[in-house]
């Protein structure tokens, strides 16, 4: 039950994009098409899950025993950077079109604050290993949910009669704000 709550909390109530405003860059940049947005979400989910596993292990088995907690930032960034490199190679091998569609945003997962945020929150909330992994999957699912909803709205927006000054980035930011407002309705529902 508690694990389910952690998952829902990370995915919906404390959605990384729409409640914490982390990872806005790919959220705006890759939300043009549903297919590529969903793939981006999956890639981020994958990185988030593995990050949660590896950073938990490093933090609790390496940093805490040797009193090296001050190294958490730099070691977490190292983990994330290596993982993203790996995911990039993997996607290039498995799906060339996806690799080209994601373009620059794939390496940008490295600097995606949502992932470093995940690792740091996990330490802050003092989760156990299983809780941490569920938290990572939940955060990834939340990111996928947010970016896919956004892409769906933007695909419809392409057909809408948007006033000229609002076309492009402005209307996207307004939509993001309204989405965040909607997700704020969940706040306080679960406090894990």
């Amino acid at each position: 039950m508690e694990l389910l709550l952690i998952f829902l909390s990370a995915a919906i109530v404390n959605n990384f994009v729409l409640a914490y405003f982390l990872g806005i860059c790919p959220f705006i940049g890759v939300s043009g098409k549903i297919t590529s947005a969903f793939s981006m979400g999956l890639a981020t989910t994958f990185v988030m899950t593995i990050t949660a596993i590896v950073t938990w292990l490093i933090y609790h088995l390496l940093l805490v025993p040797y009193h090296l907690e001050f190294l958490q930032y730099v070691s977490f960034i190292l983990v994330i950077a290596s993982l993203v490199q790996f995911v990039e190679m993997f996607i290039k091998k498995v799906s060339q079109p996806l690799y080209r569609a994601l373009g620059i945003f794939l390496p940008l997962i490295t600097t995606n604050c949502a992932i470093l945020g995940l690792a740091l929150f996990m330490v802050l909330k003092d989760y156990s290993f299983v809780q941490g992994v569920v938290y990572g999957v939940g955060a990834g699912a939340g990111f996928t949910l947010a970016i896919t909803i956004m892409a769906g709205i933007r695909e419809e927006l392409d057909l809408a009669d948007v006033p000229k000054p609002f076309q492009g980035a402005p209307i996207t930011l307004i939509v993001a704000g309204l989405l965040a407002l909607a997700f704020m309705g969940f706040s306080g529902l679960i406090s894990v």
Partner: protein, 280 residues
């Protein structure tokens, strides 16, 4: 204190080493085979990423050449040498590709074109002028003089002259065609470099109006079309050269009062003078 420092260094070093090793193995296992021709062609291309070929950039073009979708002569910038190099890499015959150069088909600068009573105030850009009021000149077909083509040229091969018309510096021009796309009035056209005869006007107005708005306009009298035996056709009050059937000797350069039809270097005027002298 020193212990902490040593442990910290060892920890970070160890972590870095492990991840580097992991990535190295992954790189070996997950390496994607890429046709070495792509890299070679990319090397042979000018590398300006101007997009003149119609692809996203030089690399994209190279990928499409190897994929068989783009022609080996598809790079308008590199010219014949580049096409030959690419053809050698691909092992096919390049044939010959003639270099295209932009030609400015309007002679109506400040001196020739009649200006409007109302002046244009606003951004000095052809696209803005087109949207707002059509610029300063009464002619609705000619060069606006806003310099969008100069702006669009990645090679600095286009300059505005004192008369408010763009000029091509042929030594710098690579024929990428960006200026042609930038011109909202389609005054710039890409033509083979050896082509010399053009109609330097785009005005479709009726003869009287065309005469009023500009001193060098094609008035649509049609004399060139009648005399040239199919080399020139009249399209909606404008002479259009049909280059496939063009016979230079039959074009009555001396009959065109505005010199709208003529040679690129203006040599028809000299020919005219020589003729006059011979008569006298």
């Amino acid at each position: 204190m020193e212990d902490v420092l040593l442990i910290a260094i060892a920890t970070m070093g160890g972590l870095g080493f492990i991840f580097a090793g992991g990535l190295a193995i992954a790189d070996k296992k997950l390496r994607v085979y890429e046709d070495p021709k792509i890299a070679q062609i990319n090397e042979a291309l000018p590398g300006a990423n101007c997009g003149g070929c119609g692809y996203a950039g030089c690399y994209d073009f190279a990928v499409n050449v190897v994929g068989g979708k783009a022609s080996v002569t598809g790079c308008p910038v590199g010219g014949e040498d580049c096409a030959q190099d690419i053809a050698n890499i691909m092992g096919v015959d390049a044939g010959s590709s003639v270099k295209l150069l932009p030609r400015i088909l309007c002679k109506g600068g400040h001196q020739e074109a009649v200006e409007k009573m109302v002046e244009y105030y606003g951004p000095l850009s052809c696209s803005a002028m087109t949207i707002v009021s059509g610029g300063d000149k009464q002619c609705y077909y000619g060069c606006l003089g806003g310099g969008d083509c100069v702006e669009a040229c990645p090679f600095n091969a286009m300059v505005m002259n004192d008369n408010g018309l763009p000029e091509v510096i042929e030594e710098l021009c690579t024929g990428c065609g960006n200026c042609e796309k930038a011109c909202p009035r389609n005054v710039i056209e890409m033509h083979p470099a050896d082509r010399q005869i053009f109609v330097f006007c785009k005005n479709h107005d009726d003869p009287k109006k065309a005469k009023d708005v500009c001193t060098v306009s094609c008035m649509g009298c049609g004399i060139c079309a009648r005399k040239s035996d199919g080399g020139v056709e009249m399209v909606d009050n404008l002479a259009v050269i049909n280059y496939d059937h063009l016979d230079t000797d039959k074009i009555p350069f001396d009959k065109c009062k505005t010199h709208a039809i003529g040679f690129l270097d203006g040599r028809e005027k000299k020919l005219l003078e020589i003729k006059e002298e011979q008569k006298n």
